[in-house]
């Protein structure tokens, strides 16, 4: 699990262009949206692409994402359960 969390943090930094951030800067238990990383609705859509591209998980809409993108840990748990690649 901890390995997946680290991998996920690296991918998030990369696809969302979080310049100057390292995995250590992201608290896996903190909310991804709202305060903190300053992510917005386009970032949420890009995370949907990440889920499909890297883990084969298709999300129909941004609303589904809301629950899954609560924190990096929640995301990792969801991926662990649903990944197809």
């Amino acid at each position: 699990m901890e390995e997946l969390i680290l991998e996920l943090k690296k991918e998030i930094i990369d696809v969302l262009n979080l310049e100057g951030m390292t995995p250590a800067d992201i608290d896996e238990n903190a909310p991804l949206f709202g305060e903190g990383l300053g992510l917005d609705s386009i970032d949420a859509l890009e995370l949907i692409v990440l889920m499909e591209k890297n883990y084969g998980i298709k999300l129909a809409n941004a609303n589904e994402g809301k629950e899954i993108f609560k924190s990096v840990r929640v995301m990792a748990e969801y991926i662990k359960e649903h990944r197809t690649k």
Partner: protein, 611 residues
């Protein structure tokens, strides 16, 4: 006054304005479900023009092969052909200007291009269309995302009022492609069934193809306006300064645009009596947030009693054609004393209660408002009237005073040029490129000590424009805290967003590695750069983006002085050239201020800039 003397709509429904109106009156629509349109893996619900029908019509006006032009160009040419025939003008006259409104033009050619290499450039299509009719002037492309069609009509009015032209041929055209549809799909913005504007169950928009053209002319003697002509009374563009893709929750920008067109053009024109409004033709895309935002703005403008309709259930969202197509349809409707019902909508439930017209009804009103909003935080409102022969109110409310204000006095506050080699601010080089650097724009960002993480999410064009704007404002004392409706952003280039378009194309090119990126797609609209600058510096006035073949100081000078003239409230404009193409950066931007004592002509006398 500015009024129309000819118009045309080429759509999947019909090949004339009136034909389209009749089809809509019969409740027709060509929106339908496609399992794999354009080879897309996901289904979509769209409205397509039949290629064969376009080609057949095209062959009747053109002797050569239909292969000489793309579908978008052919549809645009057909629309212009009809509109100028109705207007009965010779389009080859030098006092006729062509204005093309399109968001993505021939972007499908990025996948495979049988034409000359410059064919995907928006200015190239505009040039071919103008040349087809023998027009000698360089056409202007308005590429302001979804508001392009209304912005193009406002640009036409400015060219007629201040540019010395007698006629403006405004044409909007958009065709669909894997590129455009996949992008909207990546945004989760599309409904897989017929769209339901303003309905409580709405779940997204439908895309559609169309071309539409209007010929406007100017005459200050109201008695010269033909009966039943459409008069463009006022138009306004305002930026939300909020988000590049999400509509403002408060409807701030749209509200400002609505209030501005009602308040009147300037002192020569009194405020408009809103009781004359037959209806408001909204953007009504049927996305959750757009329709909510429009309802908030309409309601805040105290227009909640006025019938509101959306035409998206008939045509879909025709992008760059929408503002023109819908203006013509609204004109057809009002000419026939009709309010067109909003197809697809049973139970309107937007955020604020407004009077959505769910079915077609009669009206005695002689004016309507056209609203439109889009990516880049841009909003536009047009206030249009019909010249009823029994109605002298047009003369009375417009007055007879000339609308020609004095040319404003403009001074250059700062100037910033960014090339691949150096950044020059007010004549001084502030950083030169290290020959080894392949992160040039990021180098500039760090060098000037900018702290704006969003910079790294932008495409190259927006990065370059954002850096230039930052430098222009570095030493300027201005209100950085509140949104400024008296500031505008007006930019131009040659490549529109092609640099980012090519990047997006790589995310969809390979069927086995097909992952359309929303974060890349959003920058495939050229005007996003104006939105980024508006957000960063809280600019709430006009935001406009034009595409022309090459940088011309004279043309830039003309566009900004027209913007100052048309918007008397403006005090500052961030303007200039911002281009990024094939790895080449070319930015020449300025901060202009109106009505200060020391002045010099924009662009022409750069040596007079005072640091």
């Amino acid at each position: 006054m500015i009024f129309s003397i000819g118009d045309s709509i080429i759509s999947p429904l019909a090949m004339t304005s009136h034909g389209n109106f009749e089809a809509v009156m019969r409740g027709e629509s060509r929106l339908q479900y496609y399992e794999h349109a354009f080879g897309l893996p996901e289904p979509c619900f769209i409205s397509l023009m039949e290629d064969e029908r376009i080609d057949r019509a095209f062959e009747t006006i053109y002797d050569y092969s239909v292969k000489d032009y793309t579908k978008m160009e052919k549809a645009a040419i057909l629309a212009v052909h009809q509109a100028i025939a109705e207007a009965n003008i010779a389009a080859n006259r030098s006092d006729v200007i062509f204005i093309l409104s399109t968001t993505k033009g021939n972007v499908d050619l990025l996948e495979s291009n049988p034409y000359e290499p410059e064919r995907p450039y928006l200015w190239r299509s505009a040039q071919l269309i103008a040349e087809f009719f023998g027009n000698p002037n360089t056409p202007i492309v308005v590429s302001n995302a979804c508001i392009s069609g209304c912005a193009a009509q406002i640009a036409a009015a400015n060219q007629l009022r201040y540019g010395g032209y007698k006629y403006a041929v405004v044409v909007g055209a958009e065709t669909l492609s894997k590129f455009v549809i996949s992008g909207f799909q990546s945004f989760k913005a599309l409904s897989k069934e017929r769209c339901m504007p303003f309905d409580g169950s709405r779940c997204g928009l439908n895309l559609g193809e169309a071309a539409a053209a209007i010929v406007y002319t100017i005459d200050d003697d109201p008695t010269h306006i033909p009966d039943n002509a459409l008069i463009l009374r006022a138009g306004a563009i305002n930026n939300d300064a909020n988000h590049i893709s999400g509509p403002s929750r408060t409807g701030e920008g749209l509200l400002r645009a609505i209030n501005k067109v009602i308040a009147g053009f300037d002192n020569a024109q009194p405020a408009f009596d809103v009781n004359r409004l037959a209806f408001i033709n909204a953007h009504g895309t049927a996305t959750l947030y757009n329709d909510d935002m429009e309802s908030v703005a309409i309601s805040r403008a105290n227009l909640q009693q006025v019938p509101v309709n959306s035409l998206k259930g008939y045509f879909g969202h025709t992008l760059g054609a929408a503002g023109i197509l819908e203006t013509i349809m609204a004109y057809q409707a009002i000419k026939n004393h009709t309010i067109i019902g909003t197809k697809g909508t049973d139970n309107p439930a937007p955020a604020c209660p407004i009077n959505v017209a769910t079915s077609t009804m009669n009206t005695n009103g002689d004016a309507f408002m056209k609203l439109i909003s889009g990516f880049g935080g841009s909003n536009a409102a047009l206030l249009m009237e019909i010249n009823r022969n029994d109605n002298m109110s047009v003369v009375e409310t417009h007055g007879r005073a000339s609308l020609q204000p004095e040319k404003p006095t403009i001074s250059v506050i700062s100037q910033c040029d960014i090339t691949d080699d150096a950044v020059v601010l007010n004549g001084q080089t502030i950083i030169s490129r290290n020959a080894d650097s392949n992160t040039w724009l990021a180098d500039i960002y760090r060098h000037i000590g900018m702290a704006y993480p969003k910079f790294f999410k932008m495409d190259n064009l927006c990065k370059a424009g954002t850096l230039a704007a930052e430098l222009l404002l570095k030493d300027v004392d201005f209100d950085r805290e509140t949104v400024k409706p008296d500031w505008a952003v007006v930019l131009m280039n040659s490549a529109s967003s092609l640099d980012d378009d090519r990047h997006y194309q790589t995310t969809i090119q390979d069927a086995d590695n097909y992952y359309p990126s929303p974060a890349v797609f959003v920058y495939t609209l050229a005007n996003i750069i104006t939105g980024e600058i508006a957000i960063r510096h809280k600019i709430g006035g006009e935001s406009s983006f034009y595409v022309v073949p090459a940088f011309s100081p004279e043309q830039m000078d003309t566009m900004v002085s027209q913007c100052f003239s048309a918007n008397p409230e403006l005090t500052h404009i961030i303007c200039g050239w911002a281009d990024y193409d094939e790895g080449k950066c070319e930015v020449k931007m300025q901060l202009l201020e109106k009505n200060v004592e020391t002045h010099c002509s924009v662009y022409q006398n750069n040596e007079r800039i005072e640091n």
